[in-house]
Amino acid sequence: MEAIQVSVPRIHPLDDYLRTDRLPHTLCPGCGIGIALNAFLRAVSELVGEGRLDRKNVLFVGGIGCTARTSMYTMFDSAHVTHGRAIPFATGARLANPNIIPVVFSGDGDLAGIGGNHLIHAARRNMDLLVVVINNMTYGLTGGQLSPTTPTGHYTTTTPYGNPERPFNLIPLVAAAGGNYVARASITQPEVMKSYFKKALLKEGFRLIEVVSTCPENYGRHLGYKSPSDFYLKIKGVVKMRSGVKPWDVKYDWNSEITIGEFVDRNEPGFSRLLHEQVRKVMAGEN
């Protein structure tokens, strides 16, 4: 076993939230996931700085995928579990200890593909989770296969003749399932993204933030974007920020508009509170 290097100098303003001894991380050059993580950690660091968040309660959970791998680098209680199962893991962790603030940070395939059922059920229950879906429209880690959010017609390694499927538009889907907060951000607007993270981190109940992102290596190349920047600029061009839009009017169209903004913002009691309240009442003989 190699000597274990526990600390390296912290230089970057976010280094306090990173396992810096593992950097550089294994994501490809220019991958949008890193930009989203950057905004997320900034949101946490600001909230901690403002005394509004206790970082020791933050639980950072990923399933399996490039996005999920961010859990290997975050300096919180972190979990890198199995493909699609970040939500139930985080659910159990929170229900067993309602002080925990679970953040599920994972990919479109992980959360809306194999894990889609956990996603809609967590939303339905208004389970106290912040779920961040990094939507790079592909299965990045496994090499750029079709994902449930890949636009129709796109060429991927498993759709060499063009994707015949229609993608999910996650905003109306999750909004229809339930939850207190549903928003979509883009890696091309990091400050906006951070503000959504900050807001969502402080709410109870189910919160979903979809982040429109890129996979320059395994998807962008297939689409003909020669560099990470090309893909980045494509995204920058297609996202449109709108406010006051109803979730079912939100667009997810590669050729015209991918709407970003906040679409649901409620404050109904979270499932975890309701359940613990019930247990309290039962113990007190009130139920």
């Binding site: 274990i4 290997m72 890198h80 199962r85 139930p88 893991f89 659910t91 159990g92």
Partner: protein, 376 residues
């Protein structure tokens, strides 16, 4: 007796009571016959003790929630039967790899596939050990009745917590729904996971000589890393042969080196028997009945009952086998425990008596078959 309460419970209720006695704090379940009533019983009882009962959207959600809850410091459990257990295959591996204490009660019903939901089966013996991919550790106990259901549930929790492994209670519909008098001691020895010293430098997968790393809970400030990839002591992904061999060997040695703590078996009947009849679970009760009937006929049957199925009490089994006229394994499948007995008892033939039934065979029936084959 002081500190003992007497119950007249079903196996399912006894497992639930055992779990609560062992300190259960989180139960996640998904309905399935014949495990639903265990879930229902806990739905009523556990909240009274401040525990959480949660219904997942499927069995995967349920066991993974239990694993998550365990990392939040709660003693956690789920229960299911064949189809649901099959769905948990991947998650059992997750628990083993992340060294998460979790207890899974599996009530066998008639299989394969949907089979018959309401009748007892014994077709999941091999599955209980090998359902997940990779070479991972697991401990499996098979209660033979309601008292065992209570006692072995406590034991399963204790082993799960002591070794940070998933522990399985492999029961069946006959025991789960049968009712018996059960003595429940209130002062049962309860083991809880070892914790790191507060403020210490902590590596979540660094074990001492006992091979079991201490386990910090979420929210305690240790920045733990739960990792399903091959990892080193820190939980860092290290894809080398060295790290692989080290981790997988340690994981499995936790069980192998602690056989003493885990293993349990029982023998019944005469010493110098004509036949050593090996049977587990509800069929152990049939076998004991058969031995009783055999005695009336002057036929000497000794019954060997493995209580821990994985690992088996190999020594005990070999010792007993060496003393009997012949050795026969009787189970409700086409040869599962039988394969293990064959492997362990190498120096002599082992007979196999498959009694494929959807209800318990009577001792007389079993004895008739046994005599038929021992004669032949």
């Amino acid at each position: 007796m002081r500190g003992v309460s007497v119950g007249y419970l079903t196996g399912n209720q006894a497992v639930a009571e055992g779990a609560m006695a062992a300190g259960l704090k989180f139960y996640a379940g998904y309905p399935i016959t014949p495990a639903s009533d265990l879930f229902e019983y806990l739905s009523e009882k556990l909240p009274k003790r401040g525990g959480i009962v949660y219904q997942g959207e499927d069995e995967i959600a349920s066991i993974v929630a239990a694993i998550g809850a365990s990392w939040s410091g709660a003693k956690a459990m789920t229960a299911t039967s064949g189809p649901g257990f099959s769905l948990m295959a991947e998650s059992i591996g997750l628990a083993a790899m992340t060294e998460t204490p979790v207890v899974v009660a599996v009530n066998m019903r008639t299989g394969p596939s949907t089979g018959i939901a309401t009748t007892p089966g014994q077709g999941d013996v091999m599955q209980s050990r090998w359902l997940s991919h990779g070479h991972y550790p697991v401990v499996v106990y098979a209660p033979t009745g309601v008292q065992d259901s209570f006692d072995l549930t406590i034991k399963a929790f204790n082993v799960a917590e002591a070794l940070r492994v998933p522990a399985i209670i492999l029961s069946d519909a006959a025991i789960a729904h049968g009712r018996e008098k059960v003595m429940m001691r209130s002062d049962v020895p309860v083991v809880s996971r070892k914790k790191p010293t507060p403020g210490s430098k902590y590596l979540p997968y660094e074990a001492g000589d006992d091979l079991v790393p201490p386990m910090a809970a979420f929210g305690e400030g240790f920045n733990v890393l739960v990792e399903s990839l091959q990892h080193d002591e820190r939980g860092y992904y290290v894809p080398t042969s060295h790290a692989f061999e080290k981790l997988v060997t340690r994981l499995n040695r936790k069980v192998d080196d602690n056989r003493k703590m885990i293993v349990e078996s029982r023998v019944y009947g005469e010493e110098n028997a004509d036949v050593l009849l090996v049977a587990f679970g509800s069929y152990a009760r049939v076998a004991r009945g058969a031995a009783r009937r055999a005695r009336e006929e002057g036929f000497r049957v000794r019954v060997f009952v493995p209580i821990s199925i994985w690992p088996l009490d190999e020594e005990g089994l070999r010792r007993e086998a060496s003393r009997a006229g012949s050795v026969v394994v009787m189970e409700n499948n086409l040869g599962q425990l039988y394969r293990e007995v064959q492997r362990v008892v190498r120096d002599r033939d082992v007979g196999f008596l498959p009694l494929l039934k959807v209800e318990l065979p009577t001792p007389t029936e079993a004895l008739r078959s046994l005599r038929g084959m021992v004669r032949a």
